[in-house]
Symmetry: C3
Subunit: 448 residues, 3 copies
Amino acid sequence: MDINDFVTTLDLHDIGKEMYGLISRLFPICRSITGNGFRETLDIIKEHIPLNVFEIPTGTQVFDWTVPKEWNIQDAYIKDSRGERIVDFRQSNLHVVSYSVPIKGRVSLAELKKHLFSLPDYPDRIPYRTSYYKEDWGFCLSHKQLLTLRDGDYEVCIDSSLKDGHLTYGECYIRGETEEEFLISCHVCHPSLCNDNLSGVALAIYLGKILGQLPVRYSYRFLFIPGTIGSITWLAGNEETAFRIKHGLVIVGVGDEGKITYKRSRRGNSVVDRAAEFFLRQSGEPFEIEAFSPYGYDERQFCSPGFNLPVGCFQRTPFGRYAEYHTSADNLQFVKPEKLADSLAKCLSIIHIVDSDITYLNTLPKCEPQLGKRGLYEQVGGDSQSKRLQLAMLWTLNLSDGENSLLEIAERSGLEFEIIKKAAALLSEQSLLEQTSRPKVTVRDGVS
Amino acid sequence: MDINDFVTTLDLHDIGKEMYGLISRLFPICRSITGNGFRETLDIIKEHIPLNVFEIPTGTQVFDWTVPKEWNIQDAYIKDSRGERIVDFRQSNLHVVSYSVPIKGRVSLAELKKHLFSLPDYPDRIPYRTSYYKEDWGFCLSHKQLLTLRDGDYEVCIDSSLKDGHLTYGECYIRGETEEEFLISCHVCHPSLCNDNLSGVALAIYLGKILGQLPVRYSYRFLFIPGTIGSITWLAGNEETAFRIKHGLVIVGVGDEGKITYKRSRRGNSVVDRAAEFFLRQSGEPFEIEAFSPYGYDERQFCSPGFNLPVGCFQRTPFGRYAEYHTSADNLQFVKPEKLADSLAKCLSIIHIVDSDITYLNTLPKCEPQLGKRGLYEQVGGDSQSKRLQLAMLWTLNLSDGENSLLEIAERSGLEFEIIKKAAALLSEQSLLEQTSRPKVTVRDGVS
Amino acid sequence: MDINDFVTTLDLHDIGKEMYGLISRLFPICRSITGNGFRETLDIIKEHIPLNVFEIPTGTQVFDWTVPKEWNIQDAYIKDSRGERIVDFRQSNLHVVSYSVPIKGRVSLAELKKHLFSLPDYPDRIPYRTSYYKEDWGFCLSHKQLLTLRDGDYEVCIDSSLKDGHLTYGECYIRGETEEEFLISCHVCHPSLCNDNLSGVALAIYLGKILGQLPVRYSYRFLFIPGTIGSITWLAGNEETAFRIKHGLVIVGVGDEGKITYKRSRRGNSVVDRAAEFFLRQSGEPFEIEAFSPYGYDERQFCSPGFNLPVGCFQRTPFGRYAEYHTSADNLQFVKPEKLADSLAKCLSIIHIVDSDITYLNTLPKCEPQLGKRGLYEQVGGDSQSKRLQLAMLWTLNLSDGENSLLEIAERSGLEFEIIKKAAALLSEQSLLEQTSRPKVTVRDGVS
């Protein structure tokens, strides 16, 4: 059973519910780019897929950046003059600006307001705010609530710690036929937000579960990392072996109701870019292809000019184009089980094309081989399907001159990838094709 | 007189009638991929153009294929219980499945029906059927007639022979200035069918007659071969010298009322591809350009990856897109004299461009040469035409840096090929251009 | 202050009036491809910019051409039978065919008419005619006047001289940071015609005045030459050093009310071609981009295949597409001060892009550098503009791999060139970029 066969047997309703359940369990945890919330999340991921957890000490130099102090938080609140918690971390971890330094004391409303963040355009929502690289503290609250605050003194408390510790990330590695790698990366650094980024985390986990059970050509490396600093840290620590990554996807925002958006890698025409576009175009469903831009998620780092890895971004509605983005409205109501399942199936289909995109060589390239005497015209049943398979065999023979992979043959013929793949399998059985691109990986000494 | 001059003096009405007359004469002959009908056809072709006839023995290995047994047929019929010939080979040679093995005997209607073929969608037409590679027998008849058959016994007789013999084909070679070749190929293996393939045969014959009288740069090789096995046999026998083919056209289906369709070679941008598109675009008449696909006529073999010859396909309505295709309705009423003549003229025009597509080098490339002092501005009469010729001279001088042939200059300038060619001739007379691409052909020892 | 800063401070109203004033002063002079009118014009140009004047003797061989005799004229007329000057050179220097040989005598109307030129379609206009390379004489007059001429004898007088002398041209050289050159060329050989060519002359003079005051990367060479023979003469005399020209513009017809038309260089995608298209596209105003053709102005010589210099043509309505072209209607009413100023500003903007189009190398190409710690996120004020500058920094870092110049980054990002340039400057200050393309010019011995 290959990836595509698996997709066709997938019960989308069930798996969507499972993914949604996982998101619901991860939702309450207060994550940031470091700290125990991140570790707790990795522990839950570990229940689903094998995970190596790495701890990188504060202060480690990673290219132009430095691993920051570790942040943890127990409690936080604002109390009014009557001693009532009017803003309470226990109700929503979005209420505290991530990386807020500890504070405890009384402040006037005027002073307090300098540390309050709200969204006047969406008065019911709590915004999501961080202050990773500037030591400060703050609270987020709905604009509606902000407007109710009366003059007077308020008690503010943020029971957090910001001190030397570690940046934590998880890695899952699935060994395939070759040491060449397909990278799947998602950021795990957001607190109670669903689409950005728990939907991506859930999708990556399920990709790992599924690909771990199937025979795959590439080795798959999954990264569960904090955004930006996490990919920079990983690339700094794996600079020597990053060249093994032949394809990659950053996965994010895959639970909303929008159509699939694929953002190309910096190269613009890498195999994963072409596979995504080919699949989405043939899917018959609405989709969007975006050019690369150096703004977005961790593809910014993977596609920095010194690496230029062929890593695209698989998402539904891109960040900043839905009003729930980075607010308390990106919650369990916003993501839909059926959209999670749809994203999973489509992502698998794209991965399938990349994983199966072999280049063959026609062993009898002078004139057509006689297919009839090998029974290759009779292999097939129904009329129109039979004609298509015959056509697929002719295309595959004609273009298998060592220059064209199966994806290129599918693109040029206009036939589906699956029928080209089936044609190639039938022709290979008859020794009319032989594989040319069994990937050769040079492994350097001392590199695992 | 060059090819284009000849085209402008062609009496389309007369030549269309001549071509049609030739088709009428060839129509009754029962051809197949081997046998005496094929030989008889070549004998008639020989009346028009010099032809070398080749006989390749049954059993000869040609790449992945084997030359089949030779098939001949004298008579065939189905007689009803009253002894009347209700299906009679003498009335239409389409009535017998080509390559039917001999049979004589009585069969029940039920048994007979396993060997009968008709077209329910076109109840008046007899289909055309073959069984080259599976020994079997059968009759084709109109569906209307099939429905009239009553229960009872029928006498069936196919007085054919299928035994070791030869595959026959004809070759006409017209020596040009250079040993580089332009291939014209048509299949001659169909019985009484007009558009597919007698129209192509007639066009090829007339191309041969005309090109044989004119000064040509390339050597022209015409193949009159059975489809598929014929081109494979020819390529197998001429593997060493096939590299001389620099351009080629498969010609088929050129007598129907549809517009011209040009199917590109596998390379997609060979000179003949570009010449055809350029000419058709400037013709002002409807036309179609199709991408290469490995399905169709003998271009499948010439464009197989081991040869990848620059051979396109010149046709009117492509096979399978007209309902008369491979039925008794593809008859003398279906092809039109004026369409045959139009196809001939257009095909000659395309060949003309290829044959004249020389690359020159500007001998005074620094600044414009002074045309006035050489009388090159006065060479020309009427005003607008004079301006165009002057422009053509400037374009030809400017682009003749060794990178651009006349066709490329015509494409880039938007001027007609003829005026560019005329400009180049005038400039050459004044030694402002010299030819760079006088084709150099390496002839290997022992190759004629 | 760079070129773009200068453009933003330019008072278009004032400078348009100045340019128009200059044209008005140059208008009455009777120029041709040689002679005192040309010298007088250069004397006036010299009042505005430093100019080296070159005198090339008659008979000098310049590639395929020969420097012609020098032509001068004092007076010319046609007198009717009553002795009245009915056609008078002193009223319009267009009345005499340029390069007319001297003549004095009486001729019949029939004889005279062989030497008269008019425009039946525009009966009020005097045409502009030359006879440089065929010794002849002639008068131009309005068709209306031509129709009034009665039978009888006429006295004709052309008090001209055509004898060995010189071809004169002027050159202005502005030294920039590098010896690589930007060529600005205009023809100065037309008598009382405004758009073609005084508008181009005026624009070139103002470019020279402005660029002479500003720090520029390239060295700018301005040619004030007679059309065709002037550029051929210059190229013949500067064959060795012409390779220093990295960009160039022929400037002509920039005072009419039409939109800007940019005609590409023969290369089609040289930096100046791309800069012009990029600027005009972002300008939001109508414009036209034309492919190169070897017909037009001196770009024909600069783009001849032996030089193939990257020289485009900057103009408003191209020659031959306005009815005033080469007639007395191309006068001081036809050119507009505001269009002259608009042409100047746009031409400067294009030159600015070329002059600033540096290729940088990201010095920290692995992952993004941390912009925050360098204060690069705070450098900027307003919100949307700040976001755009941040985006511009990310694009510039991402694409500065040595393959992409600032123009390419602007093209790919869709951001304005100025914001990319600003981003590059900020990043350079922080040593995050270093310049790679500081142009290296090999200067041969003995070449000034």
